[in-house]
């Protein structure tokens, strides 16, 4: 659909601009301001220039070491959960029943974990995984595994990852399901006449039709896992040691725990910048995918 050029449309988007600018630009300016200063309490601030940023990117300092370590952990975490959730989500979407009342039941159960407050998700897995009172922890331990997410680093990671898979695979599955639903039956009939194999149907019909929603799924999952805070915080508290301290947890520790405003602000800006860059890459790719097949938009 060709859009009309009309500058008056700005009036339509003005309310949104005002609300989001109030919530985004004002606070971000505060952050920029803090990031250049140092404070010794008492609301006395001193100009520190780019000092915090230098420290932040230098792994030999305390701040830099903590930031880079948590960044590394966070990237590893995001990579692992994407590697699990995307294929699993596709498989689940392909396994969805075709019609009947079971579709509604499956959809509702799939969406259920997405609507649980994040700290309750943490609580659920905290309880579920405890060796003394949790079904999972108890079962694993009676089977002879020495499973304890509080003291063992590997177990803590496994718990946080399984929790995230539990929490968010449904999102990928629902997105893929929406993509699959938009494929007309004629495509499958044509494939059948050609005698296409199951794998060929997937590769030539289903995957291309899903790539747009998959892109959204990967974007959302990457972003949300990159800023994950509540769930691992409730379950492991960032421990044992610092082994599950992700960037957001580190940031909140510095900002609200130690009230180290300058350091926290510098970390915030770098963190935000990373997110902005990744977001831009995805957005560009996504709009390009959109313009290649403009007939998809608005259909269905």
């Amino acid at each position: 659909m060709d859009k009309i050029v009309n500058q008056k449309a700005w009036f339509l988007v003005l309310p949104v601009f005002a609300v989001v600018a109030f919530s985004a630009i004002l606070p971000l300016m505060t952050v920029v301001n803090y990031s250049m200063q140092d404070t010794f309490g008492n609301n006395q601030f001193f100009w520190n220039g780019v000092g915090w940023f230098k420290e932040l990117l230098d792994p030999s300092t305390d701040l830099g070491g903590r930031f880079l370590a948590s960044l590394g952990r966070n990237l590893l975490f995001s990579a692992i959960i994407l590697a699990i959730e995307v294929p699993l989500g596709i498989v689940v979407a392909l396994s969805m029943p075709r019609e009947g009342w079971t579709v509604a039941v499956c959809l509702v159960i799939l969406a259920l974990p997405l609507l649980i407050p994040w700290n309750v998700v943490g609580t659920i897995w905290q309880i579920f995984g405890r060796p003394d009172i949790g079904l999972l922890g108890y079962t694993l331990n009676s089977l002879g595994f020495d499973y304890n997410y509080v003291s063992n680093e590997f177990d803590a990671w496994a718990t946080v990852i399984v929790m995230d898979v539990w929490h968010w695979t449904s999102l990928v599955a629902l997105l893929c399901y929406a993509g699959l639903k938009s494929i007309p039956d004629a495509y499958y009939q044509a494939a059948q006449i050609d005698g296409a194999s199951r794998w060929a149907v997937f590769k030539a019909i289903q995957l291309p039709k899903m790539n747009r929603v998959l892109l959204i799924a990967v974007l959302l999952r990457f972003m949300d896992s990159f800023m994950i805070y509540t769930e691992p915080f409730v379950v492991t508290g960032g421990g044992p040691g610092n082994s599950t301290t992700f960037v957001s947890i580190e940031l909140v520790k510095i900002a609200l725990g130690q009230f180290d405003l300058g350091k926290a602000a510098a970390l915030s800006l770098v963190y935000n910048l990373i997110i902005l860059i990744v977001c831009w890459v995805f957005y560009t790719v996504m709009t390009n995918v959109g313009t290649e097949r403009p007939e998809k938009k608005g259909a269905a």
């Binding site: 659909m1 859009k3 009309i4 009309n6 500058q7 449309a9 700005w10 339509l12 988007v13 309310p15 949104v16 601009f17 609300v19 989001v20 919530s23 606070p27 952050v31 689940v92 392909l94 396994s95 029943p97 499956c106 509702v108 159960i109 259920l112 974990p113 997405l114 609507l115 649980i116 407050p117 994040w118 700290n119 309750v120 609580t123 659920i124 897995w125 309880i127 579920f128 003394d132 009172i133 695979t169 929406a178 993509g179 699959l180 639903k181 494929i183 499958y188 149907v201 747009r212 929603v213 800023m227 957001s248 909140v252 900002a255 997110i275 902005l276 831009w280 998809k296 938009k297 608005g298």
Partner: protein, 268 residues
């Protein structure tokens, strides 16, 4: 829709995997603490409603649910109200900076809450909104408004432009066209967008906790209170958790037919 071999087994196993931890929480919420700590039982042997009773009779508990629902509803109303005209604008017109504005909105949906916790604390304290539902509702707009715009834009684009033109030819003014014709046409889209605003505001904790102290404390923050000198009150914690799942489960039921498309942000 073509499916893969063994699909019944796969989907059943996955649904069981999703439901098992939730079942465990529900199971625990009906147990006494003595039963939880001393024995391992797959279902409550001495079922009790004591945990729920405590939540419904103690104001410091149930006020948390009211606080949470208050800011979630305020946020949903604000988000939809400002997002509707914007979605129409983005969908129908090109204007200076539209793509950049759209990207900027999207990037705010992705901004980590942890970055904004401290500045929001300062901002809302400065304008005397700290510890009110309004502070949390406005703070949650930062990710919900862009999301609502994004979803609604997809739905508005699904309405053919001929409908607008016909309405204007029939002498409808813009506001009247908007309320009488466009809004009913995209009612399901508004429902989906409202669902997502509800969802993301309901599940968020970090900002809600940072921006409240006593009067507007959300239920998720109150739940941390179950840790006491006498150890954890697991039964009570579980009951509170179960009660936070219920509003979500209810809204899902209403939008179940639109869920899949909604999660694709109206873009399938």
């Amino acid at each position: 829709m073509h499916s893969i071999p063994g699909r019944r087994l796969i989907i059943s196993l996955f649904l069981i995997f999703l439901l098992l931890p939730i079942y465990w929480l529900v199971n625990m919420s009906f147990k006494t603490n003595a039963e939880i700590v001393t024995t391992m039982t797959l279902w409550p042997h001495q079922p009790t409603l004591e945990n729920y009773k405590r939540i419904f009779t103690d104001e410091s508990w149930y006020s948390g649910y009211i606080n949470s629902l208050t800011y979630v509803l305020i946020n949903t109303v604000i988000s939809i109200a400002v997002a509707l005209p914007a979605a129409y604008g983005f969908s129908r017109y090109r204007f200076l900076g539209d793509k950049h504005l759209f990207f900027w909105l999207l990037s705010n949906r992705m901004a980590p809450a942890a970055v904004f916790a401290l500045p929001f604390f300062n901002l809302y304290s400065a304008i005397n909104l700290f510890d009110t539902p309004w502070a949390v509702a406005l703070a949650h707009c930062i990710f919900n408004v862009p999301l609502a715009v994004w979803i609604l834009e997809g739905f508005v684009s699904g309405v053919p432009r001929e409908i607008d033109e016909t309405a204007f030819l029939d002498g409808y003014s813009f506001p009247r066209f908007f309320v009488k014709i466009l809004v009913p046409l995209i009612a399901s889209g508004i429902g989906v967008a409202a669902f997502f605003c509800f969802m993301f505001s309901w599940v968020e904790l970090l900002l809600a906790r940072t921006l409240t102290s006593v009067n507007a404390k959300p239920i998720s923050a109150i739940m941390t209170r179950t840790v006491s000198a006498a150890g954890m009150d697991w039964g009570l914690l579980a009951a509170a958790g179960v009660l936070t799942i219920i509003p979500g489960a209810l809204v899902i039921w209403f939008v179940r037919n639109y869920i899949a498309r909604g999660f694709a942000l109206g873009r399938v």
